[in-house]
């Protein structure tokens, strides 16, 4: 089965019903995407499929074949996506486990809604749980990232 992950094609030999998350982490070694609940309840495993946020723990890998998969490792080749920069500037992360999923969901939001309101952010990220409770910093960082989307990536 051919998978297109972060712009690179991979040939994998795995059962068709293996969750995409298992393939990313255990077969391709892309361990930035986290396993949280395994049932699409927490958002830790969020990746992009054709640019849209997706819970990779409940998608059979066969359903992702031939589609464009982006993980946290591929969001920006230098880790310099506006969301990643905003996260660093505001020191959002506490334990960090949920943050790849948070960042991928935030990036998906900003790709469709350039200047989100608080309500837009809450709606987009309500299913990404953070047990450290960094929600206020997450929301501030999404606003910060939204302000970086002008020419040159800055306001």
């Amino acid at each position: 089965m051919k998978l297109l992950v972060n712009g690179k094609e991979h040939e994998v030999t795995v059962p068709a019903d293996m969750p995409l998350l298992w393939v990313l982490r255990d077969v391709l070694g892309l361990t930035g995407t986290k396993y949280g609940c395994g049932m699409a309840q927490c958002g830790a495993c969020t990746v992009h499929l054709d640019g849209r946020a997706l819970r990779s723990c409940v998608l059979p890998v066969s359903a992702a074949a031939g589609r464009r998969i982006t993980t946290i490792e591929g969001l920006d080749p230098n880790g310099d996506h506006p969301v990643q920069r905003a996260w660093a500037e505001l020191d959002v992360v506490q334990c960090g486990y949920c943050q790849p999923g948070q960042i991928m969901a935030a990036a998906a939001l900003l790709s469709e809604t350039a200047r989100p309101s608080d309500a837009d952010i809450d709606a987009a990220l309500s299913a990404n749980l953070c047990r450290c409770g960094t929600y206020q910093r997450i929301r501030a960082a999404v606003h910060r990232a939204a302000g970086m989307t002008g020419p040159g990536g800055r306001p």
Binding site: T46, R52, V58, A105, A108, P116, A123, S126
Partner: protein, 193 residues
Amino acid sequence: MSQASRKLVLAAAAGLLAFGACAVAERSRPEGHDDFAIVQKVLQHPRCQNCHIPGDAPLQLDDGRVHGQNVVRGAHGMGTPGLGCAACHGQSNPPASYGAHMPPGAPNWRLPPPGQKMVFLGLTAGELCRSLKDPAQNGGRDLEALLHHVSEDALVLWGWDPGHGRVPVDVPHDQFVAAFRRWIEAGAPCPEP
């Protein structure tokens, strides 16, 4: 009154009673109403009405509790940017090997759009019937388009194959479609209230 006259009066009375009973029966069961009762039973089953809601937060499971994760309808019925319905609901139910409590799936998992919510939840038979037929509320569909929708839409059909731990719609799909067709052929009458 003579014996013959009494027989005549009794016969006339019996005839009137029979006519009256027939008229009452016709008033209580007009053509099409029994079929719409079947349609209503399907549309107000949790598999259908959980997403045909007056608010913007979908319901879930057999008891129709509010969907977890604070998910909402969104501008097009497909969820919100960053949290679309398809983030968790795939093109089909997850494999059985995934076990219980997984998000079910079907093509175009969605709610009706906010401008045409096609509400089923909490309506009387008459209200449901009238809103179902109203193009302003049903996505601009005429009766034949409605019949096609309930006959072939993959998300509608999911209601009869909802996956692990969910009760399917309890009227067989072919009987539902047949009742829907008979209701249309009867002029799509709406019961009161």
